[in-house]
């Protein structure tokens, strides 16, 4: 991470565009690169910091061209690349979208209105909650969904990580550098994460509790324990911890489009092979889309496919 990061200084803007890209993760930024190269007047909306989920990842080792790069540095490369081809950026959140008519209208949290001839939905997803007693109550008292944001509060403390996929294992490994004790709790008897991450986890100081789920998060002022139920024996035990990091899947950010865009039963947007949704000129790319794989490389590829197809509306 650069000591002084300038990535989200916003630029001046107009209100009418050829392409509006909602979300500046890898899918949105790859779309911006292709749209800029296609000579389309492009704006990218990002509600927090450009980069998306990769900013929450300590190190990335599966994006071609980089054996190992920090999520932050890769995000900056993506952003600079998109800016180099002329895309505009603004730090506003889209709160209303009318996507059905030919000219799409977008309203932001600052009360500004924009129009665009085409829209790329690249809003990604948020961490899924566990949905157990204590999770809401201790949200700011030891429960976290972002190890890089909150990890430093758990220096020399005990934490548990819930989940068995890439995020759980990678962020758990990140926490082994900070916390005194890291225990991963997974409902199955093996991890789903990529093999190389698994091997590192097994070699690290991380402990594992298999075939188990967290049924409650408890404590007085702050988190003091989790209740863990073993799914094989049905036994429930109290496990002391100071922090709970939750990585149990994703919820797509599609709430504001729900009435207009077709999604699957979990809210992921359905597209054709060109990434176009049920609405003409509206595309979806990256994690928000119903797709068999959610990686940086697939999100970026989605963006390329979407924008190349979109040029048919500008011929």
């Amino acid at each position: 991470m650069p000591l002084f990061n300038l990535s989200n200084v916003s630029k001046p803007k107009e209100t009418n565009y050829d392409v509006a890209i909602i979300g500046a993760g890898p899918g949105g930024l790859a779309s911006a690169i292709y749209a800029g190269r296609a000579g389309l007047k492009t704006i990218v909306f990002e509600k927090s910091t450009e980069g998306g989920q990769i900013l929450l990842t300590d190190m990335i080792e599966d994006y071609p061209g980089f054996v190992s790069i920090s999520g932050n540095a890769l995000a900056e490369n993506f952003l600079n690349h998109a800016k180099a081809f002329g895309s505009n950026f603004t730090n506003e959140e889209i709160i209303e979208a009318d996507l059905t008519s030919k000219i799409k209208r977008l309203k932001t949290d600052l009360g500004n209105e924009y129009t665009a001839k085409t829209v790329v939905i690249a809003t990604g997803s948020n961490p899924r909650k566990l949905g157990v007693p204590g999770e809401e109550e201790f949200m700011n008292r030891g429960v976290s969904y972002c190890a890089v944001c909150d990890g430093s509060f758990f220096k020399d403390k005990r934490v548990v990580v819930v989940g068995g996929g890439d995020s759980a294992v990678e962020e758990g490994l990140y926490m082994t550098k900070i916390a005194k004790e890291v225990t991963l709790i997974h409902r199955r008897d093996k991890l789903r994460a990529q093999k190389i991450a698994q091997e590192r986890a097994f070699k690290s100081k991380m402990k594992f509790i298999w075939d188990s789920v967290v049924t409650e998060i408890g404590g007085s002022k702050n988190v003091e324990y989790v209740m863990i139920k073993n799914l094989k024996t049905n036994e429930t035990t109290k496990y002391p911890t100071d922090g709970v990091f939750i990585y149990v899947g994703l919820i797509p950010n599609t709430q504001i489009f729900k009435d207009q865009i077709k999604t699957d039963e979990n809210g992921f947007i359905l597209t054709d092979e060109h990434m176009e949704t049920n609405l003409e000129g509206v595309y979806a790319v990256g994690d928000v889309r119903k797709t068999p794989l959610r990686q940086i490389v697939t999100a970026a590829a989605d963006g390329a496919i979407a924008v190349i197809d979109m040029t048919k509306y500008f011929d």
């Binding site: 990061n5 730090n91 700011n140 008292r141």
Partner: protein, 222 residues
């Protein structure tokens, strides 16, 4: 000491400020000679000096926390501290406690630009209307870490509200540098926003309407 800003970032800032800065911006920096109590004072002062060198509209004034009269005038509570005055010497009512590094460096830049425009910031008309209802002092403390990508949004929101309401002070607090204060407010997930020293609080970079709603519920005592 080697420059903290890369040549590329320095050029970027020179261009950006050339285009964006309207009037003068005076940045007041408060540090301490007691280095053991202010690990990041030197680094904070250096980055501000480098920032000032990118455009002659920006000036830096360094003050000693332990002996300076301005500490009282501006109610500076800890160090390192940064605040900004516009060309007429008006306090923008924004405070940075701790070094604005990582993602928070962007917040500092946005604030410099807004200060050069005498606090002209982008807020919705409904927010501006609600701010008129705030008649007594209101303090917003936004706890952050430099590695939190969501945090600048909350900091800038608090700062924008402070620039637009004479009763609001908007603070950024780097949680790692002030562990006692963070502990006092139970900060373990950022951004964590404390309203009026605990009358209200919330976690997360909420959109403008929801952010303002949280504040108004404290103002109205709901």
């Amino acid at each position: 000491m080697a420059a903290l800003l890369s040549e590329e970032d320095r050029k970027y800032l020179v261009d950006l400020f050339e285009k964006e800065l309207k009037g003068e911006v005076k940045i007041l920096f408060f540090g301490s000679k007691r280095k053991e109590e202010c690990e990041y004072c030197d680094l904070t002062e250096q980055i501000l000096q480098e920032l000032a060198e990118t455009n002659n509209k920006i000036t830096i004034e360094t003050h000693d926390f332990d002996e300076d009269a301005l500490v009282k005038k501006y109610n500076v509570e800890m160090v390192p501290a940064i605040l900004m005055l516009d060309s007429e010497g008006n306090d923008m009512r924004i405070r940075y406690y701790g070094i604005p590094s990582g993602y928070e460096f962007s917040s500092l830049i946005e604030d410099v630009i807004a200060t050069s425009k005498k606090g002209e910031v982008d807020l919705s008309s409904s927010t501006l209307k609600k701010l008129e209802e705030i008649k007594s002092p209101l303090k917003l403390q936004v706890f952050v870490t430099p590695t939190c990508p969501y945090c600048p949004r909350a900091v800038l929101m608090a700062h924008k509200l402070a620039m637009k309401s004479p009763n609001i002070i908007g603070e950024m607090i780097e949680a790692n540098e002030f562990p006692d204060l963070s502990m006092q407010y139970n900060v373990s997930s950022v951004p964590h926003i404390i309203i009026n020293e605990g009358e209200g609080e919330f976690v997360g970079a909420l959109p403008e309407d929801a952010f303002v709603e949280q504040i108004m519920s404290v103002v109205k005592g709901v």
